[in-house]
Structures are given as structure tokens and as C-alpha cells.
């Protein structure tokens, strides 16, 4: 009986040494994992979606492979609904390997502006949930998550229409020149069209015009739109403004002019 007991003791001790050595080296290895997320590249894809591509670099100089590296980014609106999400899954990062990839995140502008048009005109803050998980040393699951606020720059900040300048074009028409301006505080630029229709006080359309907008990121924009309107006698008109870009639509905005 003594021999089997001694063998059990020796095997147990050896297993403990292996377990402690493995655990200690796995924890020690974690300091040799380098992770960096760069500045995003922004592009526009189908269905009014903005694609944010973050350069992602992972270096594993630890003793073991890393498995199932998963990075999730979710952007929440003020009301808590998710407006953008991105997943990146790297099945394995071998020991000594460096992986460079991109963490793509799609921002659905319909979801973002559809319920909260305030974001078009006012700078705000969005909540971001960043979660990274992996199996360190292939068998020890680790997850780190963080909630942070990121500033949101309004694409149509301080949108203003100046008082229309009305000139007599000919015997039947007037030329109305409307100047407008806004500041694009967003990280992305956009192109689109601004359409204005003029209605008489009776609600009859008397003219309309369209202009192309090309706003660069984080820069002011100003433009004007020329409208030829029939010169019937009206005391009061209202303008209907419709803005259409590749990833958001705004309008119709009604502006009353006259007395």
C-alpha cells in the first residue's frame, strides 16, 4: 500500500509544479501582449452607411499563443439604442507573431439621425462600449471592457439661411438668391443637394431651385441657391428646404417669408 500512496504523492507534486509553472508563466506572458488601435479611415458604403476602419495592431511576444481575440465596438445614442457596431475576430495569434488588420465599424446614419435629428445641428456626445476578449495561453479567457464618451460633431452646425435677395429677372419672373451657411463639425465630409421650393400663401408652387453641396470635414461651408419664381403678386411666401446627402436626408424645413 505504501508504494501506490507514494506514487500518488509524487504524481500530485509533479502536477502541482506543472500547474503553478504554467499559470505563473501565462500571467507573466500577458505583459508581452501589445495592442494598438489607430486613427480611423472613414469611407461611405451602400445603404447610407459610414465605414470607420481603425488600424489594429497586435503583437504577441509572450510564451503562448492567443486564441479567439475578439474586439467589439458599439456606439450608443443618447437613448441607449445602438447606432454603430463593429466586430473583429482573430482566431489565433501565434507566439512571436504580429498581426496588422483593421477593425471595421459601420455607422448607420438612418438609425443615427432618424430618431434624433438634433445630432445634425448640435454637437453632442455618444457613448462607446469597447470590449476586447481573448483566450490567453489558449485556455485562460480574459475580457476587458470600457464605456467612454466620444464627442459628436454636428454636420450641419449653425445652419442659417440669409434673407432672400429678390431681383426682377424679366416681366414674368423674379430671381431670388438665397445664401446659406453651416459648419461641418463632423469627422466626415459629405456631398449632396439642397433643394428649395417656394410656395405662395395659397400653397401654390411658384418656383424652385437646387444646388450641389460639397462639405469638407471639420470646416465651414457657405453657398447660395438661385430660384426663378413667377412674379405674381404675393405678400407672403414660404420656402420648403430639402437636403439630401449620400448618408442622411433632412427636410422638408419650412421657412415663412413676408408679412
Amino acid at each position: 500500500m505504501i508504494v501506490p500512496i507514494k506514487i500518488i504523492g509524487i504524481v500530485g507534486a509533479v502536477c502541482w509544479i506543472i500547474l503553478i509553472a504554467f499559470s505563473a508563466s501565462a500571467i507573466y506572458s500577458m505583459k508581452d501582449i501589445q495592442f494598438s488601435l489607430g486613427q480611423p479611415q472613414i469611407s461611405i458604403i451602400e445603404n447610407s452607411e459610414l465605414l470607420f476602419s481603425f488600424p489594429l495592431s497586435l503583437t504577441n511576444t509572450g510564451f503562448y499563443n492567443l486564441r479567439h481575440f475578439n474586439l467589439y465596438t458599439g456606439i450608443m445614442n443618447k437613448d441607449g439604442s445602438e447606432v454603430a457596431r463593429g466586430f473583429t475576430l482573430i482566431p489565433i495569434i501565434a507566439q512571436g507573431q504580429t498581426i496588422n488588420t483593421t477593425h471595421d465599424m459601420k455607422l448607420n446614419s438612418t438609425a443615427l439621425f432618424g430618431f434624433n435629428q438634433d445630432l445634425l445641428f448640435n454637437d453632442s456626445e455618444l457613448r462607446v462600449n469597447e470590449t476586447a476578449s481573448m483566450n490567453a495561453a489558449e485556455v485562460v479567457p480574459i475580457q476587458a471592457s470600457s464605456y467612454l464618451s466620444v464627442p459628436w460633431g454636428a454636420p450641419l452646425y449653425n445652419l442659417m439661411f440669409r434673407t432672400p435677395e429678390v431681383l426682377v429677372y424679366n416681366a414674368t419672373h423674379l430671381l431670388t438668391n438665397i445664401k446659406f451657411s453651416f459648419e461641418n463639425h463632423a469627422l466626415f465630409g459629405f456631398t449632396g443637394s439642397l433643394r428649395i421650393r417656394i410656395y405662395s400663401d395659397a400653397g401654390v408652387p411658384i418656383g424652385g431651385g437646387k444646388t450641389i453641396i460639397d462639405a469638407s470635414p471639420r470646416s465651414p461651408y457657405s453657398g447660395n441657391i438661385e430660384i426663378y419664381a413667377s412674379s405674381r403678386t404675393v405678400t407672403r411666401v414660404h420656402f420648403e428646404v430639402l437636403l439630401t446627402t449620400q448618408f442622411f436626408k433632412y427636410g422638408p424645413l419650412e421657412i415663412v417669408y413676408g408679412s
Binding site: I8, G12, W16, A24, I27, M30, V140, I142, S145, Y147
Partner: protein, 150 residues
């Protein structure tokens, strides 16, 4: 008769000295393991607050039970203390590792470490250790009975 008694006393002293030496060596080994582990796990202490204290408390109680067990060497209590040591390790691991899910918060970053696999393996090894202690106790009693019968 007197010579035999003197021989028995000498034998007892020698036995006690060897037992003390054995225990001292084990304690020194435990201290070396503690120092090495502290150095290796120092980077992790930044992420896991109280890790050093956790290891120190564990080793303190473990070494104390080991010393008591060794001092009672040659009696059945040695095996009981050895079994108690195994049960202590199991209980301590469950409590200190929060049942295998460690959750830490640093500023606005939340870190979850899943060490359930480590916990299960460690508990199984300790259960084997506990079983070994019980088998040693049974063996000790059976040897005593056999000697008495002879």
C-alpha cells in the same frame, strides 16, 4: 537495560533532529517559491490588487499546516493535518479566486479573468492529496494493528 534506554533516547533525538531539518528545508523551499512567484507575478499585481497578499496568506497558512503535520510525523495526526491542508487549499482557492471568475475595475475599464479551469485542476489535485492522506491514515492504523497482532 540502561544502555538500551540510552540508545533509544539517542535514536529519538536523532529522529527529532532529522524531522526538524526536514521541516526547515521544506519551509526554506516554500520561502524560495514565494520569492520567485512574487517576482514573476509582480507585473500582474498591477492588474490584480491584493495578489501578493493573497499568495502570502496562502503560503503562511499552508506552511503552518505543513510544519504542524511534520512535527506530528509518526502519529496518525500527521495524516489528519495533511488532509486538513488539502481541504484548506480547496476552500482558500474557491474563496480567493471568487469561484474562478475574477472581476476588477480600473477607472472605467472592467477586467474579467476566467480561471475556472485552473481552479478545477487545482481542486482535483487537492482532492487526490486528501484521498492520499486518508489512505495514509488507514495504512498507518492497519500497520499498527498488524504489529500488535505479531
Amino acid at each position: 537495560m540502561e544502555a538500551k534506554e540510552t540508545f533509544d533516547v539517542k535514536k529519538g533525538i536523532r529522529k527529532n533532529i532529522s524531522r526538524l531539518l526536514k521541516t526547515t528545508v521544506k519551509v526554506i523551499l516554500a520561502i524560495i517559491v514565494y520569492v520567485l512567484l512574487s517576482q514573476v507575478l509582480a507585473p500582474a499585481s498591477v492588474f490584480i490588487p491584493g495578489l501578493q497578499d493573497m499568495i502570502a496568506t496562502f503560503l503562511l497558512v499552508y506552511v503552518a499546516l505543513m510544519v504542524v503535520s511534520d512535527l506530528f510525523s509518526g502519529t496518525i495526526f500527521q495524516h489528519f493535518f495533511s488532509g486538513a491542508k488539502s481541504l484548506f487549499v480547496i476552500a482558500y482557492l474557491i474563496f480567493s479566486l471568487n469561484s474562478g471568475l475574477l472581476d476588477y475595475t480600473f477607472g472605467n475599464v472592467n477586467l474579467i479573468l476566467d480561471v475556472r479551469l485552473f481552479l478545477i485542476v487545482a481542486m482535483l489535485l487537492e482532492l487526490v492529496g486528501f484521498a492520499k492522506s486518508m489512505m495514509q491514515a488507514v495504512n498507518f492504523v492497519s500497520e499498527k494493528v498488524e504489529l500488535a497482532a505479531v
